[in-house]
Symmetry: C2
Subunit: 263 residues, 2 copies
Amino acid sequence: MLNPYENAAPLAVRQKIRAGEITGQTSGMCLGYAQANLAVLPKDLAYDFLLFTQRNPKPCPILEVSDVGDPCLHKIAKDCNIATDIPKYRVYEKGVMVGEYTDVTKFWRDDLVAFLIGCSFSFEAELLESGVTVRHIEEGKNVPMYLTNIPCEPAGVFSGNMVVSMRPLPNDQIVKAINITASMPRVHGTPVHIGDPEAIGIHDLSHPDFGEAVTIRPGETPVFWACGVTPQSIVMNSKPDFCITHAPGHMLITDVKNADLKF
Amino acid sequence: MLNPYENAAPLAVRQKIRAGEITGQTSGMCLGYAQANLAVLPKDLAYDFLLFTQRNPKPCPILEVSDVGDPCLHKIAKDCNIATDIPKYRVYEKGVMVGEYTDVTKFWRDDLVAFLIGCSFSFEAELLESGVTVRHIEEGKNVPMYLTNIPCEPAGVFSGNMVVSMRPLPNDQIVKAINITASMPRVHGTPVHIGDPEAIGIHDLSHPDFGEAVTIRPGETPVFWACGVTPQSIVMNSKPDFCITHAPGHMLITDVKNADLKF
């Protein structure tokens, strides 16, 4: 899969995104650099959400939280305006999507807080580097994701079950995959479950709740990781008055190398 | 150092503390179980403090945050009232200590939030178990702690420099100590500095800012870990209207085994 921006520098790509020259998905861009999920909430919900992420670090690994009202990031990306530097956003009112935009400057308010959340792209790059199978990439699909019966720890107005992503692994690669992801707690960390899908409330692997089903071959076991779709799902359940997220697959490309997310 | 409660169950000891039968330091009690630092703040400061801990996980590793107004913990200790189950508390108004108490029920308010923060006792137990030298325990002293020139990431009203604890290690034990503490990110994790104290703004190891100086022998190197005194020091700098902490050495004994704080 050739991407014209696969070897580009993150800042250069963010500038093209800000200028409206890139509006598509970010998968495959700036290889080696972490990409991040976005959730923007008003301050009056930010405490509950921050506490939710603290209580549920596996599905909600925070990479950066902006200062109240400030659209600029200071840690994971420099010269970065979070209202312009993502290719596509979704704006929600009372839990209902009211539109998709390539720039949300006109929606920005003095009481907004941006949460940047780690993404499984980062650990997948490390798995591939170590020769571990990543089936949905092999098959050119979006990773299959499932709603489970695993309850998240509630916090204030936020509660609900965990969403997981699934990657089938040859049995002799499972330990290696656990060790690699164990070293990356800031991007979901170790699997939450290995094997029987029923044990976590998943009845049919061929019908994922999000993404696409992938082939599971003989001698392979499904391995489940906490998924960054969880916080979006939880936020939408609570029907906040106002919320901005990235559009699926349209992530923030950060200046942080995946390798720097180890410990 | 024999302690009559070294093999007691945490709940049994917390009940004696609640009943006022134990009012002393908790060091050496319930061996194998994690102990936690306490900071209680009004809700209007809790967001900034929670964000501060998120931005500074090494000095401020959160084990649990209570629900607003609820003095009960639900995760790291069962049947636990945080206003009664610590042997000694300090109450502060506008940054000034107004008293020490063995029970703070009468000070509890509907807007208070309790933060329980991991403690180096947990990783010291693992170091000892693995044969790594812990000098201040050998010498029967409190660990030496130093204010550094390492700035914490500020969050809202909270800012300041990091406090570190120092343990001198024989040079052939340093790598082992790093690996052991790397596996315990919820109790300060890896060292923040190894070697030259001047490099982090410490001019005289024989005069710690808190705790007591320890012997550094030939062939040993000082190793510095982020210290749980940091959040207390930061909170006091901001002179909050109201705050409760544990008294030094008088910690919450949790139901969580140190071994369970690995990843």
